[in-house]
């Protein structure tokens, strides 16, 4: 299919796929009528606030709550020993590791939850936190994952019996000996150390919940900032079933969510403590993090130290890749990764290239930092993989003296090789990589830019051009290989068509800004011809929505979107039988066009989908079940592989070292598109979460484990001033296995943008012999490099 096939099949009234329908979510949001967790106010609701550790590692000698409990309005202080009475002081992470909910006697990272104050008002809870006195004995701190993995290092997780080291896990893919042999045989090998530092999703809404335990009914309603409400319900039932919270008595509601990006996949201790507090006190309890708690204690992303070796022949043919990674997981492995993939989908690291020999391995270390390893708007560890291969490819181009775009073109998997089986085991569904890169080069006029760069270099001006051609792997995933804590990664849709031909559709996913209420309605419209305006979409309430694993890793369109189409097709099949009954013809004699069935050769004999719906309740054929509804649980046969090519132009100020992104062209291919406006918006947002880590964002720690980057004072989220005017375009290569050829798009740009910017900065200084920067590439780092080269102004 070419871009010209983008013409929608439905008219604007039906507004199926391909229409830039205005969002159904917007009317409430632009009026301030959204319903986020902190907007929920229940009668008698109490507030919880959390005492956190100032130390990265310490023994708790004493927690004195007496002063706090004397404050009028402070009702209780919940600590580890309180939870231990109910055996709720530990919990599983989503990677099946364990972590404390509240500590008994030892804290393992700065900002760790120590105890929680419950009070009648928000401000009084904060007063209570100030009044709790905790006596600590500081203990030695391990912040360096390399030292943590060194032989003889003190063991951090003493809670794990028989644990003799700090290795959270070792994982590898490919044939090591073969990759090493191939590297040894290469004419040229580049060795590049690529470090992706700890960063934080920093969604504009922090995390929080309202736990409402109804003691009369024994039922818990948990309003919660979660991307995966169904999984949370099951996990809660598994860890708290023994205190009476069995699954039919738990309702998790994920209301409007102010951005997720992966950070709202885990279950944080605060949620669990709020639930415990509500159960014990018998009143609703609200807990809302502040921004500093959010940045300092919630799951981080990245923190991958990657040693990349890429080998090629003299002519630039890339043949062998080896990546050895040390991953810092903090105190616990709380990655949001499928069970069989502790390093996520990192083995996509051969990228867009036809590499015949490859090996990658990850050693995950425990340190005294917050637990995590979640995504930051990317499918499981794909950002790390793409950054590694795309930086190494540029380093290879630099070493060979080849143009980086030409080197990529030479090594791309060719269009005729799809479906392509990668050496590390993935079957890429479809792609046309040369076309995307060519399009990006044409839009930005690549040749002219190289000429301009050459002229500027003569004048001493610093300009860089960066290329990135990424391949994503999203839509997890096929149940044969993909589960989280044993829950298979299918997803679901349930559609009910009402007698008047309007519909409600519910899903196992949960939008956090992606616009599901609009795009899912458009899928129903496409498949059934019911106007999207007449389709109400609901997600996030486990009492009403069908079971699903939630929204992350760009999986909603590949999984629930597919389920939506297939549920709609079941409804269409039934509607066909009803239409045949009404028209007194055989179903085989009917043709379908969006919105109606008509008799072959007699188009005036027709029944609309609305007429069929009405008949399903008023005049259904004898022997047929009444009603018009269907549910589908979609188990994808494969993952999907969106891709794209990005080109970035930067100018560097020789006086300040500031990197200015002058232009950024993004050509994305996410297969067939449901709503072009929303897809473009997703790409804009992803690109901005790409420039952030490339140039500004980092959470780092000193030797004592003190965090820097723990508030918006020093964790720099890009503003409108640094963010360039993104230029986007697309190619369309449908997924052959997805019901309507879509691939998912939410995270492509976050994956593709950082290496493009990184490569551009190195390119700007390459003629001076610069080959390396660590991200984020701050003005100071650049200025130091300029100074070292004697060209700082």
């Amino acid at each position: 299919m070419s871009e010209t096939d983008m013409t929608p099949r439905t008219d604007a009234k039906i507004c199926g796929m391909g229409h830039s329908m205005k969002r159904k979510e917007d009317p409430r949001f632009i009026r301030g009528k959204g319903n986020y967790v902190d907007d929920i106010q229940l009668p008698g609701m109490l507030y919880m606030d959390i005492v956190r550790s100032p130390h990265a590692h310490a023994r708790i000698k004493k927690i004195d709550t007496s002063k706090a409990l004397k404050i009028p309005g402070v009702l209780a202080v919940i600590d580890g020993p309180t939870l231990a009475k109910y055996n709720l002081h530990w919990m599983p992470t989503i990677s099946a590791d364990t972590q404390m909910v509240l500590p008994i006697d030892e804290v393992m990272y700065q900002a760790q939850e120590v105890c929680a104050v419950i009070a009648t008002e928000r401000y009084i809870a904060a007063d209570g936190v100030d009044a709790v006195e905790v006596e600590y004995e500081p203990l030695p701190v391990m912040v360096d994952p390399h030292k943590s993995l060194a032989p003889g290092a003190p063991v951090l997780r003493k809670d794990k019996k028989d644990k003799k080291d700090n290795l959270a896990f070792h994982w590898e893919a490919g044939n090591k000996a073969d990759a090493e042999r191939a590297l040894a045989a290469c004419d040229v090998v580049v060795r590049e150390q690529v470090y992706l530092p700890r960063i934080h999703v920093a969604s504009m809404e922090t995390c929080g919940c309202v736990a409402d335990f109804n003691s009369a009914e024994g039922k818990l309603t948990l309003y919660m900032t979660t991307q995966a409400p169904h999984a949370v319900r099951t996990v809660l039932a598994l860890v708290a079933g023994h205190v009476g919270l069995s699954e039919e008595r738990i309702r998790v509601v994920s209301p409007d969510i102010g951005g997720g990006f992966g950070g709202k996949v885990p279950v944080y201790p605060g949620y669990v403590v709020a639930v415990a507090a509500s159960v014990v006190i018998g009143k609703p309890v609200k807990w809302i993090e502040d921004r500093m708690e959010n940045l300092q204690a919630d799951s981080f992303a990245r923190d991958y130290h990657m040693k990349v070796e890429l080998g090629a022949k003299k002519d630039g043919t890339m043949t062998a890749l080896k990546i050895s990674t040390v991953a810092d997981h903090g105190y616990a492995n709380a990655s949001a990764n499928p069970s069989k993939f502790p390093a996520g989908l990192f083995s996509i690291c051969t990228g867009s290239y036809d590499l015949k020999h490859a090996f990658c391995e990850v050693d995950a270390a425990y340190t005294h930092k917050p637990p995590g390893g979640v995504a930051y708007r990317c499918s499981f560890r794909v950002t790390e993989a793409v950054h590694a291969i795309e930086r190494a490819t540029d380093a290879l181009a630099q070493k060979l003296g080849m143009d980086p775009a030409e080197l990529r073109m030479k090594n791309f998997i060719r269009p005729e090789q799809f479906p392509y089986k990668s050496i590390l085991g993935w079957e890429y569904d479809s792609g046309d990589y040369p076309r995307a890169l060519k399009k990006a080069m044409d839009i930005i006029d690549y040749d002219a830019l190289r000429k301009e760069q050459a002229e500027k270099r003569k004048r001493g001006e610093l300009m860089g051009i960066g290329v990135c051609s990424f391949t994503e792997i999203v839509g997890a995933g096929p149940s044969k290989h993909f589960d989280i804590l044993g829950l298979k990664m299918f997803d679901s849709a349930e559609i009910r068509v009402h007698p008047t031909g309007k519909a409600i559709a519910r899903f196992g996913t949960k939008s956090q800004g992606q616009g599901h209420e609009t795009t899912y309605a458009q899928i129903v419209a496409e498949e059934l011809g019911i106007p999207a305006a007449h389709v109400q979409v609901e997600e996030g309430d486990t009492d009403t929505a069908p079971y699903g694993l939630g929204t992350y890793a760009s999986r909603s369109t590949p999984t629930s979107g597919a389920a939506c189409a297939l549920a709609a097709r079941k409804i269409r099949d039934k509607a066909r039988d009803i239409a045949a009954h009404l028209l007194e013809v055989s179903p085989k004699d009917l043709e379908w066009e969006p919105g109606k069935f008509y008799v072959k050769g007699a188009p005036q004999m027709a029944k609309t989908i609305q007429e069929c719906a009405f008949a399903a309740y008023t005049n259904h054929p004898q022997g047929m079940e009444a009603g018009l509804e269907a549910t589908h649980y979609y188990d994808p046969p494969n993952l999907t592989f969106p891709f794209g090519s990005y080109i970035c132009v930067v100018d560097i100020d020789r006086g300040t070292g500031e990197v200015k992104v002058r232009r950024f062209v993004a050509v994305d291919d996410c297969g067939n598109i449901i709503n072009p406006m929303i897809v473009e918006g997703q790409i804009h947002g992803g690109l901005t979460q790409g420039i952030g880590p490339a140039l500004f964002e980092e959470i780092s720690y000193d030797e004592e484990g003190n965090i820097s980057g723990g508030s918006f004072l020093d964790y720099y989220v890009p503003t409108a001033l640094e963010t360039p005017k993104w230029e986007t375009d697309k190619t369309i290569t449908p997924s052959p296995h997805h019901p309507f050829g879509a691939k998912g798009v939410g995270e492509s740009a976050t994956v593709g943008a950082p290496p493009a910017i990184h490569n551009a900065v190195v390119d700007a200084l390459a003629h001076l012999g610069v080959t390396h920067f660590d991200i984020p590439i701050t003005p100071e780092k650049v200025w130091q490099e300029l100074k070292a080269k004697g060209i700082a102004e």
Binding site: R23, D38, M204, D256, G259, G685, T723
Partner: protein, 158 residues
Amino acid sequence: MAKHNISVTINGAARDAEVDSRLLLVHLIRENFRLTGTHVGCDTSHCGACTVQLDGTPVKSCTVLAVQADGCKITTVEGLEQGGKLHPVQEGFTEKHGLQCGFCTPGMLMTTSALLARNANPSEQEIRQAISGNLCRCTGYVNIVKAVQYAAEKARNA
């Protein structure tokens, strides 16, 4: 803690409240008046999700005490729509897809409606400067700029 009686006009309606000295304006609006369109996104006045207009000037209501608003006219996102007619910036944000999760949107709307009140025809750079104290993690700002340009044109032609 000392209590203070204050009187404000919020979205055109006169309201009295008895407040603690330390009560932040954002909590007066959200919790006392139950107008939850104004959001809290940080605690260092960087994110701008809490932006409201105080006598027509955009302020970050997490950095203003409720007592400082005594005698003032407060406009929140709930007050932008007049007589069933959306403010041009509200229309612009929908038309140009200037919002995704919606959390920063109320603050963006209050900042940009104030911008247009003082500058009917802002340049792109002036728009970017005006919203540089309002963080958005979803949109990448490009469509927000377009939304404000749309609103400016709409307002000029009204």
